[in-house]
């Protein structure tokens, strides 16, 4: 347990930065829309983590309140996103984003 006692806010920051980066790279390199959603969620969670860490640091709860907001919004976003994806799937029968290049130049 000693191990976990000297964990400072910086560790959290690093962790969330890593998470955020992971999400970003996921978005960057995956082609499957679903996976890409996941990555974005990952990024959002990274943000949440940061906020919580900070609100602990400043020890007041604003940050944590904000986290809830984020969760709600994220949920809404995902709902919309999935709806659009459904529609897309209905028209294209795939979730590969590479096919989405009708609009160009």
């Amino acid at each position: 347990m000693q191990l976990f006692h000297n964990i400072t806010v910086n560790h959290y920051l690093v962790l969330s930065a890593v998470l955020f980066g992971l999400g970003a790279f996921g978005v960057l390199f995956r082609r499957n829309a679903i996976i890409m959603f996941m990555c974005i969620e990952l990024m959002l969670n990274a943000v949440n983590l940061t906020l919580v860490a900070f609100s602990k640091m400043w020890n007041h709860t604003d940050g944590q309140v904000f986290v809830f907001f984020i969760m709600v919004v994220a949920a809404a976003e995902v709902a919309v996103g999935l709806a659009i994806l459904m529609m897309l799937y209905r028209n294209l029968h795939t979730t590969d984003t590479n096919v989405l290049n009708k609009l160009k130049f």
Binding site: A24, V27, L28, R31, T97, N98, L100, N101, K102, L103, K104, F105
Partner: protein, 631 residues
Amino acid sequence: MEKLVTLVPLFPLAGFLYIIFFGKGFSKGFIGTLASSTILLSFIVSVLVFTTQMHGAHPAVVKVFDWITAGSFKVDFSFLVDPLSSIYLLFITGVGFLIHVYSTGYMHDDEGFSRFMAYLNLFVFFMLILVLGDSYVTMFVGWEGVGVCSFMLIGFWYKDMKNNDAAKKAFIVNRIGDLGLIIGMCLLFAYTGTLKFDDLFISGSDISGIPGGVATAIGISLFIGAMGKSAQIPLHTWLPDAMAGPTPVSALIHAATMVTAGIYMVARSSELYAFNEVASQVIVWAGILTSILGATIALTQNDIKKVLAYSTVSQLGLMFVALGMGAYSTAVFHVITHAFFKALLFLGSGSVIHGMGGEQDIRRMGGLKKHMPVTHLTFLIGTIAIAGVFPFAGFFSKDQIVAVAFEENKIVFILSLIVSACTAFYMFRLYFLTFHGKFRGTHEQEHHLHESPKSMTIPLVILAALSVVGGFIGLPHAVGEEMGMHWHWLDHFLQDAVVMPSMHMTMGTELLLMVIATVVALSSIAYAWSIYKKRGVLADEDKDMKSSAQKLLYNKYWIDEIYDTIIRKPVDRISDFFGKFMEPKLIDGLVEGTGSLTKATGGIFRMLQSGSLSLYIFVFIIGLIAILLSL
């Protein structure tokens, strides 16, 4: 009294306007009388003005109206009445009147008669403005005005493109001179702040402040203007071509009046030249060269008017010699006498041409003596006068020039003697070939031969008389004393207007020079007589000209051809280059190029918008990283 001078140019103008706008439907007789009478009226007024000047009235400036105002530059439209302008008035209106009368006869059968008279009136108007103007600008008005009149009159028979080309050439060559004149005026204004004669010369003499180099530049550029008008090398080529116009025009414009505008202008600026050695030398040499050139070419010409034209060129050259040597009044003297006898000769030739039904080639003439006695007699007088035989008008004026040359520069002196020798020769060649021997023209021409009507012969007679006595206004000292007459009257008359040379020549030399001049003249007359009268030699046809010298002269030193190759062709070629390449390809190409360049870059930028989501994300994140790194 001076106020009246405004009327002098007014009459001809009125005549012009009336004929142009209301002249329709009037008889030729009426038009002719109207046109001539306007000039007569001006002549009368001129006489009045002249007499006042003769009785020593002070030079006066008569303001007509405000004209140009620009900051410190202010020019009124106003006239300067002084001895110089008044004497010019006199012979312009005088000779002008005679030639108007002559024209009523000469042009009688031409359908453009009234137009012709109108143009003549307009010309006289501008000529009067030229000599009356009290500043270079006002003078320039007349200067250009006579130019355009000569354009209209040379190209009077506009259906023949040859005439139009001659007219255009005259106008454009004159324009080159005018550019010089304009530059001269600009410089003058830049250094003195005025262009009025009385500020510059008479009262103020602001010109003393001009640095020497600039003064030379001014002198020369003004002289370039004179070259254009008075047909001096290298701008002389237009004058012979100008003979395409009706003969009265040649007489009035291209012999008596307009072409002497250059002399007038230089004389007017005598203060400027008097103390300017370089410019004066330029004038002398340009003058004497032109004189030689004209005289030599005239030796071989076979077109009666061309001969007279080249003789005019060479006479003008002599006048410039006088000017360049500081003998301004002498030049004016020669201008006047020349106006008399050259007008006479041209009108005479006109009468001949009229009689010959338009024929101008002396090789088709001969023996006209018996057919047209009056013409013959007057023409002979004119010939003697120009040849410079005592006591005809030409003798005195020319002799004065020679005398000055003797004083100033021996080489020029010799050359001027050669010129007068040539003059005597070609004039008598012309005379003999035209009036003596047997008729060489066609039969219907011979049948058609007749003496010209009174309206033409009377002016001839009057001018002949003037050519005889005209010289007495400038009798040399020696002769003057002998005859107990007023000598150098003209010089005394002009001394307020122009700078006077300091001539101190013993009577002995004066007489000697006269003798030399007379001998030269008489001997070459005799030579001409021996060839063309005694041996009855005829002028060669174009084809059988042998000696290259003869060819050279006959083709006028090929100067026109040379100009064609070194000026006209290059200009055309350059313009062509502009039109074909520079404009469409180069300049517009650059303009259009920017447009197509933009399009091209647009094409490249489009590629960024490939439409693939992954690229967009990639760019997004790269951008983000880039920014973060830039911190």
